[in-house]
C-alpha cells in the first residue's frame, strides 16, 4: 500500500465519520429507505433482535428479525453506543477497501495463468479502485444506513482477496461466513474454487477434482461449525427457518429494488410454490454457464455472479449493486470495449433519482401507486443487467482479441 492508497482510505473514512457526526439523524432516515435496508439486513430489525436476545427471549419470536445469530452475539458483546457501532461499520468499509487494494495489486484482473489482457497497461492503480469503492454513493449510503449487508460485502471481498493470493484456508472460511450470513454468496463458491486453484502458489498443484473435493469438505465442516455455534447461542435450530427460510420462501413482501416483491404480491397463492422454485433456480443456472465460459478469468466470473445475484436475489439492495460496481472497476481496462457505458450510467442515475421520488408519491403523497415504484425497479434491474451483459461482452472481446489479434478494431456482427 502506497501513500495514495492510504490517502483514499483516510478520505473515505473521514467522509463517513463526517456524515455520521454532522447529520445525526441521517442514519435513521437512510435506514428506513427500502432501497437500502431489506427485511434480511435492516439495522432496525437487528436492534429488535438484540433487544429480544439480551432479554432472554428468542430473537426470532415475532417474525421481525431474520439475520444470522452470530451477528447477535457480535452486537451484544459491543457496548451499546452508537459511536462504536458507527465505527464498526466504518472499519468494515475500510477493510473492504483494503481487500480491494489487495485484489487490484495482485494483478489477477489482467493476468491469469490462462489469459493476459492486451489492455493491461490501461488498468486502474489500486488506490483508484479503493477510491471508487469508498466514494461510490451507493456504498456510502449503505454504510451510513448500517444494514448488515456491509459485513457480508466485507467478508466476500476479504475472501476474494485471500483467493487471488492463493490462500485457500482464509478464502473458504470467509466465503463460508458470507454464505452463512446471507445465503446467496454460496453461489460464488464454484468461481472462488477456480480462482483459488489458479492462484495456488505451491509447486505441486493437486488436480482440480481433488482440490474441489477437499475444499468442499472443508467448507461444509466450517459451515457446520458456524451452525453449531449459532445453535449454542440461540439454544434452538429455529434460526435456520427464520433466516435462510426467509431468503428462500420470501414471506416478507416489503418493497425493495429487486424484482420479487411485486411479482409475489400479485401472484395467486396456488402458483407461489412453483414460482418460488423457478426464481431460485433461475439464479442457480447462471453459475455453471458463467464459470465455464469465463474459465480463463475466474475472478470475472465471480464478479459477474455477484452482479447477477444483486439483480435477481430475493432481497437485493443498493449495497449489492455498490459491491458489484466497485468490483467491476477492477476490469476498468476493458471498459473501452463496452458499448453502452454512458447510456447505462445515465439509466442508473435516472433510476436512482426517480426511485425515491416514485416511492414518495406512492407511500407518502398517496398520489401514485405501487406500479410507479415497481416500474423504476424494473428500469434499475434492466440497466444493471445490461451492465453485467456489456461487461461480459467487453471481457470476452478482450479475451478473443488475444487469440486473434487481427480482429482488433473490427466490427462485431451478430448472426
Amino acid at each position: 500500500m502506497d501513500r495514495k492508497c492510504l490517502l483514499a482510505i483516510g478520505a473515505g473514512a473521514l467522509i463517513r465519520l463526517l456524515l455520521f457526526t454532522a447529520f445525526p439523524s441521517l442514519p435513521t432516515t437512510l435506514a428506513q429507505r427500502v432501497e437500502i435496508s431489506t427485511p434480511v439486513t435492516s439495522y432496525k430489525r437487528l436492534q429488535e433482535g438484540i433487544y429480544l436476545y439480551t432479554h432472554g427471549v428468542s430473537p426470532y419470536d415475532g417474525g421481525v428479525f431474520h439475520q444470522a445469530p452470530l451477528l447477535l452475539s457480535l452486537f451484544s458483546i459491543l457496548p451499546p453506543s452508537t459511536i462504536i457501532t458507527n465505527l464498526l461499520y466504518v472499519f468494515a468499509d475500510i477493510f473492504s477497501a483494503i481487500s480491494l487494494i489487495r485484489i487490484a495489486s495482485s494483478g489477477v484482473p489482467t493476468v491469469t495463468p490462462h489469459h493476459v489482457s492486451p489492455r493491461k497497461a490501461n488498468s486502474w492503480p489500486p488506490w483508484a479502485i479503493a477510491a471508487a469503492f469508498l466514494f461510490n454513493p451507493f456504498t456510502i449510503a449503505t454504510c451510513i444506513a448500517r444494514p448488515t449487508i456491509v459485513f457480508t460485502n466485507t467478508i466476500i471481498l476479504h475472501s476474494v482477496a485471500a483467493a487471488v493470493n492463493g490462500r485457500r484456508g482464509p478464502a473458504f472460511v470467509s466465503m463460508a461466513m458470507a454464505a452463512y450470513l446471507s445465503l446467496y454468496p454460496v453461489l460464488l463458491l464454484p468461481p472462488l474454487l477456480f480462482l483459488t486453484y489458479d492462484s495456488l502458489k505451491t509447486t505441486s498443484k493437486p488436480s482440480i477434482q481433488a482440490f474441489s473435493a477437499i475444499t468442499t469438505i472443508m467448507l461444509s465442516i466450517v459451515l457446520m461449525i458456524y451452525f453449531k455455534l449459532s445453535h449454542l447461542i440461540t439454544g434452538s435450530w429455529e434460526f435456520i427457518a427464520s433466516t435462510y427460510g426467509v431468503h428462500l420462501l420470501l414471506p416478507d413482501l416489503t418493497p425493495n429494488v429487486g424484482l420479487w416483491w411485486y411479482f409475489f404480491i400479485e401472484m395467486f397463492d396456488s402458483f407461489r410454490a412453483f414460482f418460488l422454485c423457478l426464481f431460485q433456480l433461475h439464479l442457480l443456472i447462471y453459475v455453471p454457464s458463467v464459470c465455464l465460459r469465463l474459465r480463463k478469468q475466474p475472478l470475472f466470473a465471480l464478479i459477474t455472479l455477484i452482479g447477477i445475484s444483486s439483480i435477481f436475489k430475493s432481497y437485493p439492495a443498493i449495497g449489492d449493486t455498490g459491491l458489484y460496481l466497485s468490483l467491476l472497476m477492477l476490469y476498468n481496462h476493458t471498459f473501452s470495449l463496452m458499448r453502452y457505458t454512458f447510456f447505462l450510467a445515465a439509466a442508473i442515475l435516472y433510476a436512482t433519482f426517480l426511485g425515491p421520488a416514485f416511492y414518495y408519491l406512492w407511500v407518502y403523497a398517496g398520489s401514485g401507486n405501487a406500479n410507479f415504484f415497481y416500474a423504476i425497479t424494473l428500469v434499475w434491474s434492466i440497466s444493471n443487467a445490461l451492465i453485467v451483459a456489456d461487461a461480459i461482452y467487453a471481457v470476452l472481446r478482450d479475451e478473443h482479441e488475444t487469440e486473434r489479434p487481427e480482429l482488433i478494431g473490427k466490427d462485431v456482427v451478430q448472426i
Binding site: F342, A346, L349, L354, A365, P405, E406, I408, D411, V413
Partner: protein, 619 residues
C-alpha cells in the same frame, strides 16, 4: 443482424450527431407546442365527479333564515375583537365554542424565519359525530387574518355560527373540527403539524384530537361588506401538490349548480371559457404550483395527504350573502360526510383551466418530460461527439488502424504473441466531473445563506451573491485555462456541459413527477444551456450566448417573479426563507442546488471562449 446498425453508425458519427441535435430541438418544440394545445377542447376534458359517494348538491341546505342573524351577531363580535391581542381573541373564541357545547383546544406557536418571529394562537373545537366513532374528521377552518392580512370577519363569524348549527344535526358520521387559526400562513401549518405529532419545539401539542382528517374547507370572507359576487376556489398546496380533483369538482358543482354562485379560479374574475382565458388560468396555476408556496390556509394540509380547498369570496357588489356561503359550506360538508373512504378516485395531478375544464397528468406530463428529454438528448449528443475526446482524433484512429495492420502482419510471424493495443483518444472524465460536482456542491452556499440571513440584509446579500456568481464562472474558466494543457481544454468544457445537462435532465424529469410546473419552467429557462457552448474562435457568438444566459439566469427569473407581483426581490427571498422554515417548501433547494449549478456550468463553458481567445489557446 441487430448489432450492425449501431456499429456502423459509430463510423458515421455526423449522422448520429445531426439526428440527436434534430431530435432534441424537436423534443423541445413539441414539448412547448403541446402545452399551448392543452386548452383546446380536443385536449382538455370536462370535469366530472368520480367518487359516487359524494353526491354533491343532492341534499337541501337549510342554513339561512334566523341563522343569518346569528352570523351577523358573531360578525359584530369579531369586529369588536378586531384589534385585540391573540390571547383575548382565542379566549373569546374558546368561550363561544364552549357555549355551543363543543370540546375546545388552544395551541400557541412560534416560528422564526428570515430574522422575524411569527407567533400566534390557534383555537379549535371538536364536534363529535353522533353517528361516528371518532376515527375520521373533517375540518372547517377560518383564519383570523386572511392571506392578505385582512381581518376575516365573515369567515370567522360563519364558522362560529356553523359550529352551533352543525351541532344540532344528528346526521354527521365524521367528527367536525372548527379551527380558527390566528393567521393564514403559519397557524394552519403549526396546527396540522401538531395534529400529526410532527411539530417543532416552539409549537404546543394539541390537547384534543380526533380521527384522520378526510377533508378541509377554509372560509375566507373578509371585510365589513357582507355581499359578494363570486366564490374564488383556491387549491394550490405546498410544493405544488394539489388536492383531489373530486373535492374541487364538488365545491364547483354545489356553488354553481345548487347555489347559483359563480366560481373563479386563479384570480380570473371574468373567465369567458375561451382559449386565451383558459390558457391564462392554466399558466397562473402553473406559476403558483411552480413557486410551491402557500396560497391559503388549505395549502398546509395538502402535504399530509389531506385534501383541502379555500373558498374565498370576491367582490362586494353582488347579491350573495353569508346565507349562500353558509349553505355552500353546509352542502360541501354533507358531501364530505358521505365519503366512504379517503379521496382516491379522481385525479391528484391535473391542470385546471376553467372551473369545469381540466387536463390530467397523462396529457400534460409529456410536455415537461420532452423538455427534460431534450436536455438529455443533448447530453448524449455531446458524449458521442468526437470533440469530447482529447487529442487529435483523426490521427489517432489511423494509428490504431496501422497498429492493427501491424498486428496482422505480426501474427503471421509470431503466432499467439500478445499485441499491445492502442485504445485511441480517451475521454478525460476527471476534470469535467469535478467541475460539475463541485459546482453542484457550491449550490448549498446560496441556499444556506438565504435561509439564515435577516430580512434587512437580504437584498445586500442577494446583490453580493449576483456579483459573485457573475465572477465565479469567469474565474473558474480562467483557472482551468491556465492550468490544463491546451488540447484538453475544449473536451473538458465540452464534457462538463454534457454531464451538467445530463444531471439537469435527470433532475427535471424526476421533478416533473413531483411538481410538473416547476420542472417545466426551469426547463424553459434552461433551454439556452443546450446550445451555449465554448466558441473560442467566434467571440461575437460567445457574447450572444453569454447575454442569453444572463437573461435566463435564476436571478433574472427572481426579478421576473418579483415584477409579476410588484414586490421587491428581498420579499421573494424572505418568502422563500419563510417557506423553507415553516412549510418545508423545496423550491429554494431546487433553484440553488439544481438550476443555479447548471447555469454556472453553462456560464463556465461560454466564458471560457473569451478566456481562451484572450490567451490565444484556441485549441
Amino acid at each position: 443482424m441487430a448489432l450492425r446498425v449501431p456499429v456502423n453508425l459509430r463510423k458515421n458519427l455526423s449522422v448520429v450527431l445531426y439526428a440527436f441535435q434534430g431530435l432534441s430541438i424537436l423534443a423541445v418544440i413539441v414539448g412547448l407546442a403541446s402545452l399551448l394545445l392543452l386548452p383546446l377542447d380536443e385536449y382538455s376534458r370536462r370535469t366530472y365527479i368520480s367518487e359516487n359517494a359524494l353526491l354533491p348538491g343532492q341534499v337541501h341546505a337549510y342554513f339561512g333564515g334566523s341563522e343569518q342573524n346569528i352570523v351577523r351577531a358573531f360578525r359584530r363580535e369579531v369586529d369588536l375583537l378586531g384589534n385585540s391581542t391573540s390571547d383575548v381573541v382565542s379566549e373569546r373564541m374558546a368561550e363561544i365554542f364552549r357555549s355551543a357545547g363543543l370540546k375546545v383546544g388552544k395551541q400557541r406557536y412560534s416560528y422564526k424565519a428570515a430574522g422575524g418571529e411569527y407567533t400566534g394562537e390557534n383555537v379549535y373545537a371538536v364536534l363529535h359525530a353522533p353517528r361516528g366513532d371518532a376515527t375520521e374528521a373533517i375540518v372547517l377552518c377560518a383564519p383570523w387574518k386572511n392571506i392578505d392580512h385582512l381581518l376575516n370577519e365573515g369567515g370567522v363569524a360563519l364558522t362560529l355560527a356553523l359550529s352551533r348549527y352543525f351541532k344540532r344535526w344528528s346526521l354527521w358520521s365524521k367528527d367536525i373540527i372548527f379551527l380558527i387559526s390566528s393567521d393564514a400562513r403559519a397557524g394552519p401549518q403549526a396546527w396540522v403539524d401538531a395534529y400529526h405529532d410532527l411539530h417543532g419545539e416552539n409549537i404546543q401539542s394539541l390537547s384534543v384530537k380526533s380521527g384522520a382528517i378526510q377533508g378541509v374547507v377554509v372560509v375566507d370572507y373578509p371585510g365589513a361588506y357582507h355581499r359578494f359576487e363570486s366564490l374564488h376556489i383556491i387549491y394550490d398546496g405546498i410544493n405544488g401538490q394539489l388536492p383531489n380533483l373530486d373535492l374541487i369538482n364538488t365545491a364547483v358543482q354545489i356553488s354553481r349548480d345548487q347555489m347559483g354562485l359563480r366560481t373563479d379560479l386563479q384570480e380570473m374574475w371574468d373567465h369567458n371559457d375561451g382559449y386565451r382565458h383558459r390558457l391564462r388560468t392554466m399558466l397562473r396555476g402553473m406559476v403558483n404550483q411552480a413557486l410551491g408556496h402557500s396560497t391559503g390556509p388549505h395549502s398546509s394540509f395538502i402535504p399530509y395527504h389531506i385534501d383541502a380547498i379555500t373558498l374565498a369570496t370576491h367582490g362586494d357588489g353582488g347579491w350573495h350573502d353569508e346565507g349562500s356561503l353558509g349553505r355552500t359550506v353546509e352542502s360541501v360538508f354533507r358531501s364530505l360526510n358521505n365519503l366512504l373512504e379517503h379521496f382516491h378516485q379522481s385525479f391528484f395531478f391535473y391542470l385546471l383551466m376553467a372551473p369545469k375544464r381540466f387536463v390530467s397528468i397523462g396529457t400534460y406530463l409529456p410536455s415537461a418530460m420532452l423538455l427534460a428529454v431534450g436536455l438529455t438528448l443533448t447530453a448524449i449528443r455531446l458524449w458521442v461527439d468526437p470533440r469530447s475526446r482529447s487529442g487529435e482524433v483523426g490521427e489517432k484512429v489511423e494509428e490504431v488502424k496501422e497498429k492493427s495492420e501491424k498486428g496482422e502482419k505480426g501474427k503471421e510471424g509470431k503466432a499467439g504473441e500478445v499485441v499491445a493495443v492502442d485504445v485511441g483518444p480517451k475521454r478525460e472524465l476527471f476534470l469535467p466531473m469535478s467541475i460539475v460536482i463541485g459546482v453542484h456542491f457550491c449550490g448549498v452556499i446560496p441556499f444556506a445563506v438565504f435561509n439564515s440571513v435577516d430580512y434587512k440584509s437580504m437584498s445586500s446579500a442577494f446583490y453580493i451573491f449576483i456579483a459573485a456568481s457573475v465572477i465565479l464562472p469567469t474565474l473558474i474558466s480562467i483557472l482551468i485555462t491556465l492550468t490544463a494543457s491546451p488540447h484538453r481544454l475544449l473536451p473538458a468544457f465540452h464534457l462538463s456541459r454534457c454531464f451538467s445537462l445530463l444531471f439537469l435532465g435527470m433532475f427535471l424529469s424526476t421533478l416533473a413527477t413531483l411538481n410538473f410546473s416547476l420542472s417545466f419552467l426551469i426547463g424553459l429557462f434552461s433551454l439556452p444551456l443546450t446550445f451555449a457552448r465554448t466558441t473560442p474562435k467566434s467571440v461575437p457568438l460567445a457574447l450572444l450566448n453569454s447575454i442569453l444566459l444572463q437573461v435566463t439566469s435564476p436571478f433574472a427569473a427572481l426579478f421576473i417573479i418579483a415584477g409579476y407581483w410588484g414586490l421587491g426581490v428581498e420579499d421573494i427571498l424572505k418568502e422563500a426563507s419563510f417557506g423553507w422554515w415553516v412549510w418545508r417548501m423545496w423550491t429554494p433547494v431546487v433553484v440553488w442546488c439544481v438550476w443555479w449549478p447548471a447555469w454556472v456550468v453553462g456560464r463556465i463553458s461560454v466564458d471560457s471562449s473569451f478566456v481562451m481567445a484572450a490567451m490565444g489557446k484556441t485549441g
